[in-house]
């Protein structure tokens, strides 16, 4: 059931053998490691995530069938372990990205290049985050300040310049 990687999705792999034999799970693991290590949000792996999602769904259905059809419980539990591991990577990848979006929500809303790295759902999430935060700040604090002091961005402790440089390591 190990699906092979699509040709376009593994940039930098010159070895043809490596290219055709890398499983999606290994690609997901690589994307997960990169996302964990990078201080800024990286490009969303749309096709990889779509494939993995499909495989996870397929596997979940299979396990249900197995459990019903009397295949021995050892095999079922091993398949379940493999599924759990894959799901962990998948969820962790998405959660790390969401954490970064929450952290940099204002930067993202001002920066179309960064926005282009998000998936459609993530873009929606980022927009809702920023809107909610703005409304919250408005209602609880800013509306009570004098007129010139009501701008969210100006009051924000998020610096206008990108301070990404110094978290490079």
């Amino acid at each position: 059931m190990a699906s092979e990687a699509g040709e376009g999705s593994t940039a930098g792999m010159d070895d043809y053998e490596t290219l055709i034999s890398t499983t999606d799970v290994e690609l997901l693991k690589k994307a997960w490691r990169n996302e964990k290590a990078a201080p800024e949000i990286l490009r969303f792996e749309t096709s990889l995530i779509q494939r993995i999602r499909g495989q996870i769904q397929l596997m979940e259905e299979n396990i249900e069938e197995f459990a019903g059809s009397g295949i021995d419980p050892l095999t079922v539990s091993l398949y379940q372990m493999d599924l759990d591991r894959t799901q962990y990577l998948f969820r962790s990848y998405l959660r790390i990205r969401l954490q970064k979006i929450e952290k940099y929500m204002f930067h993202i809303s001002k920066n179309p290049e960064v926005q282009s790295r998000l998936s459609e759902q993530e873009k929606g999430f980022a927009r809702r985050c920023a809107d909610d935060m703005e409304r919250h700040l408005e209602e609880s604090v800013l509306s009570k300040l004098p007129d010139n002091y009501q701008d969210t961005v100006k009051q924000s402790i998020i610096s206008e310049e990108s301070d990404m440089r110094f978290s490079w390591f």
């Binding site: 799970v25 596997m59 959660r95």
Partner: protein
């Protein structure tokens, strides 16, 4: 929750490093007959009694726990090999010996779950602990030689656990060197408070010129 480890401590939690290590291949000898397993992460089997086969470490441990196989310790996990490595580590101040990237995690998992499959297990365990100590001490000593000209750090043959522990420190250290070395590059917010109001400055200057 998946993937919520604290980035201040280290990039990957110890459990996450172990998770990555569990995909390493290891040899087992099953004692049962089982059809091929078509996992999302790969295809393994079919399994025949007494016929050795390669599987990922997590699968090997799962089967071992249920008494369905024995695990063959990897080539490097023998008293002879490890004694060689330990002596070589002790002999050199700066060079690290070639060890599998995940040697700490692999040996830990095997000690915990497959102790009876390892010959001279106590000796092996004590050798690996000594190797870990010597290597880590070497890392610490070498890090002391970091000076302001360092932009990046390259250490050969470091293992996964060692890298994971050292990484946050090295990152912050290099950052601190960078920052203290080139103060003009950073619009230092503290500087603003140093500036006195213009009027007072002019007044002072005029006074001194008399």
């Amino acid at each position: 929750m998946a993937g919520q480890s604290d980035p201040q401590l280290s990039l990957f939690s110890a459990e996450e490093v172990e998770f990555i290590a569990e995909d390493e291949m290891v040899e087992i000898v099953p004692n049962l007959r089982m059809d091929a397993l078509n996992f999302v992460c790969g295809d393994f089997g079919p399994f025949f009694p007494q016929l050795a086969t390669q599987v990922p470490l997590w699968l090997a441990v799962a089967l071992k726990k249920r008494g369905k196989c024995t695990i063959r310790p990897p080539q490097w996990m023998t008293v002879e090999k490890l004694t060689q490595v330990l002596e070589a580590e002790r002999d050199s101040q700066r060079v690290f010996e070639q060890l599998p990237f995940h040697y700490v995690e692999i040996s830990r998992l095997l000690f915990d779950h497959a102790r009876d499959d390892i010959p001279d297990v106590y000796m092996v365990r004590s050798l690996i602990e000594d190797i870990r100590d010597v290597r880590f001490h070497k890392v610490e000593t070498n890090l002391e030689s970091l000076n302001e000209r360092a932009f990046a750090l390259k250490i050969n043959n470091l293992s996964a656990m060692e890298v994971n522990i050292v990484r946050p420190f090295v990152g912050r250290a290099l950052q601190a060197f960078y920052k203290h070395d080139s103060p003009d590059l950073i619009p230092d917010q503290d500087r603003v408070s140093d500036r006195r109001p213009q009027v007072a400055n002019n007044a002072t200057r005029r006074h001194l010129r008399r």
